[in-house]
Amino acid sequence: MLRARSARVMHEQAHGPNMTPMVDIVMVILIFFMASAAIMGPEWLLRTALPSPKAVGSAAAGDVTPVSASVQVVGGSFRVVLRVGEARREAGVESVASEAASLAREFGADRLVVAIDADAEAPYDAVVRVHEAFVKAGVTRIGLPAPR
């Protein structure tokens, strides 16, 4: 015991502490965090339907409530115009979430079919935020219709 201890002390005096186990453990921790970050990912995916014009027409005829959400640029700012049948509501991008939740409560989230459209100058970020608002409201059928 004494001899073994003195041998270790002599080795450490000559070569310094053994760094190999620490390097191994740090590497394993590093790989664990990188792998978990790769699996979890910093990104999310929003599934968006690409309906054909024919499909849009059949959706309007079925037992669903079509909603048109249009991001329009007016002057320097933009607004979201929501149309449900003949009814028309306007919202800012900040308040579209509450409007979407209100529509979902009124008509039922599972019955809403949302078509998002936007002016060419509208920010892509605003389009995604409108999409996000309806996803948060529980709507699953959201799409980007073909331009007319």
Binding site: E43, W44, L46, A97, P123, Y124, V128
Partner: protein
């Protein structure tokens, strides 16, 4: 002499595999980082941040849309740069007819909808019935 060394190694001590583990770990880290960088093809794409989204695995085909320093729109399909005109054909080649598989669109948040819509229309023209929009995870979003 060689036989003696092997004999002594087998009976008295084990083969030291620590350097091997260290080198393998370094290689794994290297390839993880390179793979991560290669997936974005070096483009600085900052997708819009959302508080919700699907955590499913990223589709095999990812279209990156970004604006270059010169102001032009740059497209890449899973790391390969291409033009908007060739995107539809590239998607049809990779997805087949009828298309099988999914496509994700990772577009920069600073772009206008008019910059992204042609990519969406190319996916529609390739026969896809849906795409996935890539967003940045922002669970703390209150909007």
């Amino acid at each position: 002499m060689r036989r003696l060394a092997i004999h002594r190694g087998a009976s008295g001590s084990h083969i030291n595999v620590t350097p091997l583990i260290d080198v393998v770990m370094c290689l794994i880290v290297f390839y993880l980082i390179v793979g991560r960088l290669a997936s974005t093809n070096g483009q600085a794409v900052a997708p819009p941040a959302t508080g919700v989204g699907d955590t499913a695995a990223m589709p095999r085909l990812v279209v990156n849309v970004a604006r270059s320093d010169s102001g032009a729109i740059e497209l890449s399909l899973s790391g390969t740069s291409l033009t908007l005109e060739s995107l539809g054909e590239a998607l049809r080649l990779r997805l087949g007819d009828p298309p099988t598989g999914e496509v994700a669109i990772r577009a920069d948040r600073r772009l206008a909808w008019g910059d992204v819509r042609p990519v969406v229309e190319a996916c529609r023209a390739a026969g896809l019935s849906s795409v996935k929009l890539v967003t940045e995870r922002n669970e703390g979003a209150t909007r």
